[in-house]
């Protein structure tokens, strides 16, 4: 039996320590992982918990991220709780198996510490890895600080393992700014956390030798489409379970989560829509804009997949101009948030100005002043009733300004 870890009411943890404690409290049976900056401390912390008797399960230090995710798939099919952590290139190496995890309906938890993708090689935070995996059929939860990284990791197990969901779940946090920045975190005590997450309920366990089961079949044009459709159906419908788990978590902790996060949106004319740590910076910028008489607000997602299509339109229903902030190189088009927000607004008959800002690639600092300039752009567009600045701009970039359309 694992030892109880004595925790203070308030701990000072960085995002990696917060995620590691959540994995420990979930009493993962198999954690298979490979080190990569900036998520490495998650597995280092976890190894130390194991070495000190706080974990009953096994930590397998495999020889690549591909094997890390393959190990999680096999362990999960074997009927045990499995999890891992990664970033960037490691995430990219996992991609093949991410699709296998979701297609095989295995509720693995992956804590992703977001980092840029090479080339050029870069260890700092952006959302390239998150965007790379967005069609992989996983539930994607987004945190902005260590507390949320902790909370959402605990909730990830309960969401993914729900028998109506049975899908893998990623929990994202920003590299370094969240993962390596110590902040106050209010954890649950071990027994409370374990009670919340619950015992793992195996489904079609390979270890049950009395009931042989075939995992990872082949389907061609006769059945593949139905399998993928069913998977999409269940991913779309996981919203109700996500909401239920958020509600249970609120009852237990008082901390409230929703599909979409809003800040001062009740009367906002202009809004920044971002993910990750920029959400907190944008709130400070919004407050400062409000001192200047500009009604600024902030919108973000807790759940990137399934994308809260209606809730996004609802949150933005009275706004005149929106900045969709994409922290990933868009590769020849607009950023994903821009496209998805625009689709959501269009489907709901809303026509605010939507601008696309590409920012913070490779860990480039995004300052309050930069975000205030974004609000200034939005204010101009809101007043003019049309886009009076380019639709896509790169901000915080050295050299001449880069913009399109």
């Amino acid at each position: 039996m694992a030892k109880k870890y004595e925790l203070n009411e308030v701990e000072v943890w960085d995002g990696n320590m917060a995620a590691a404690h959540a994995l420990r409290q979930a009493q993962v049976d198999i954690l298979a992982a490979y080190p990569i900056t900036p998520s490495t401390p998650i597995v280092q912390n976890y190894s130390k918990f194991l070495a000190d008797g706080y974990v009953d399960g096994e930590f397998i230090m495999v020889e690549s991220e591909h094997s890390a995710m393959s190990g999680c798939v096999a362990a999960s099919a074997a009927g045990v709780r499995a999890a891992t952590a990664t970033s960037s290139q490691g995430f990219a190496l996992m991609v093949e198996v991410l699709y296998q995890a979701s297609g095989m309906r295995l509720p693995i938890v992956l804590t992703v510490v977001n980092r840029a993708l090479a080339a050029p090689l870069n260890v700092n935070g952006d959302h390239s890895d998150m965007y790379l995996g967005r069609d992989a059929g996983w539930i994607n939860l987004c945190s902005y600080n260590p507390q949320e990284a902790y909370d959402l990791t605990l909730m990830a197990f309960k969401i993914g393992e729900d028998l109506n969901v049975r899908l893998p779940v990623m929990v994202h946090q920003d590299g370094f700014i969240c993962s390596h920045t110590a902040q106050n975190v209010r954890p649950l005590q071990d027994e409370e956390a374990q009670e919340f997450v619950g015992e793992y309920k195996p489904v079609n366990s390979m270890l049950d030798v009395a009931n042989p089961v075939t995992h990872g079949v082949q389907t061609e044009e006769d059945w593949h489409f139905e399998h993928k459709a069913r998977q999409h159906h269940d991913l779309m419908n996981s919203v109700s379970v996500i909401k239920k788990v958020f509600a249970e978590f609120k009852d237990r902790t008082g901390r409230e989560y929703d599909l979409v996060y809003t800040y001062k949106m009740d009367d906002a004319d202009v809004a920044i829509f971002a993910l990750g740590t920029t959400v907190e910076s944008a709130q400070i910028a919004a407050d400062q804009m409000r001192e200047k008489g500009i009604k600024a607000g902030v919108v973000s997602l807790r759940v990137f997949r399934p994308f809260p299509f209606n809730e996004v339109a609802e949150a933005l229903s009275n706004v005149k101009a929106i900045a969709a902030m994409d922290r990933s190189a868009p590769g020849g088009t607009f950023g994903a948030l821009f496209n998805e927000i625009s689709a959501s607004l269009m489907a709901h008959g809303k026509k605010p100005v939507v601008l696309n800002y590409i920012y913070g690639l490779g860990g480039r600092d995004t300052t309050i002043n930069m975000l205030k300039e974004v609000y200034e752009d939005l204010d101009k567009c809101a007043k003019a009733g049309e886009a009076v600045v380019p639709l896509q701009q790169f901000i915080g970039l050295r050299g001449p300004k880069l913009s399109f359309y």
Binding site: V62, S67, G71, A74, E96, L207, D208, P212, T214, E220
Partner: protein
């Protein structure tokens, strides 16, 4: 628990946990090998399979040929799949949370045997990293390479197991080429050098030898590697009914020597003894030419301009046979 097998008739009547109802080619060795491996034990078996002929022919939804728990993830990860199932088994055993039926078997001394099957593409090439990692970590499982020396499932491309002179779809023989240029990779020695407690080479035609080695492998704790000769009627281009004969030619010419390497460890895991045993010695070592002549993939080697490759083959096989005998004699 070691299964007692009296004779081939009894063995062939064992309760199949891998059904003959599958899509493999008539005359395919994979079927024979998998049956021989699974029938070597009455204990529960759990199988991981790499992408390849065996996988695409035995688990096409909504059907399955497997009467044991089975998983396929991808081409390159059968080793880590089996290894992690093994780790999961050990964790649940330690926690006392095995499914009741499994726990009952364990209490009766019937520990599940966890086996990975992969072709040479999934072993020598794309799966090598995963295989090496799983062996280094020492997981308790058996890895069986169904070695047909070619990417048969994708239409006969060369792998690093393809022997010199073979004509494949990516190393075809032509007016200026004798086919594959590289020698076959020495997978058995490579796996033994990982420190695995038991490594062996087998042929489905020598079923007693195969079963004995698989049973030995099941009895040791740690990763076990079995390299199984798998004559491929489609890519070696021999007639389906000649599979066993071609296999025998390989064994009797010493192209496919049957041997085992045993690494014995002390309680600290230090290897104190490595022994190589040749488990089958042909009464009459036949010329390699006879083995090559039986397979149209080597037909072009019999043209005058390519005869030197046959000579090279004979030299390479003789040198290797000599090497194995010396190791056996020296007890290393």
């Amino acid at each position: 628990m070691v299964k007692k097998i009296k004779n081939l008739k009894e063995f062939s009547l064992s309760n199949d946990r891998f059904e003959g109802a599958n899509l493999m080619c008539p005359g395919c060795s994979h079927n024979i090998i998998v049956r021989e491996v699974l029938n070597a034990t009455d204990d529960p078996v759990i199988v991981a399979t790499a992408t390849g002929c065996l996988e695409v022919c035995t688990a096409v939804y909504p059907k399955t040929s497997w009467d044991v728990s089975w998983i396929h993830i991808g081409f390159e990860n059968a080793a880590v799949a089996a290894a992690t199932v093994s780790a999961a088994y050990e964790v649940m055993k330690k926690k006392g949370k095995l499914p009741p039926a499994t726990q009952k078997m364990v209490d009766e001394g019937k520990e599940p045997k966890i086996v990975a099957f992969a072709g040479d593409g999934g072993t020598y090439d794309i799966g090598f990293q995963s295989l090496s990692g799983a062996f280094e970590r020492g997981h308790n499982f058996m890895y069986v390479c169904l070695d047909n020396e070619v990417y048969a499932n994708t239409g006969g491309q060369r792998s690093s197991s393809t022997p010199i002179g073979a004509s494949t779809t990516t190393s075809p023989a032509g007016s200026v080429s004798y086919g594959e240029k590289m020698m076959k990779k020495s997978m058995v020695e490579i796996m033994a050098d990982h420190g695995a407690p038991y490594v062996a080479q087998v042929s489905p035609s020598k079923w007693k030898d195969l079963v004995k080695k698989v049973q030995k492998g099941f009895e040791v704790y740690g990763p076990v590697y079995i390299n199984a000769q798998s004559a491929c009627t489609t890519e070696w281009k021999h007639a389906p009914e000649d599979t066993i004969e071609v296999s025998d030619l390989g064994v009797d010419s010493c192209v496919w020597p049957l041997y085992e390497i045993i690494n014995e460890r002390d309680e600290h895991g230090i290897i104190y003894s490595t022994k190589l045993n040749i488990t089958y010695r042909p009464k009459k070592k036949i010329p390699v030419e006879e083995y090559l002549a039986a397979q149209p993939r080597f037909r072009h080697l019999f043209k005058p301009e390519n005869r030197h490759i046959i000579d090279l083959w004979q030299k390479a096989v003789d040198a290797r046979w000599e090497y194995l005998q010396r190791r056996e004699e020296a007890g290393v």
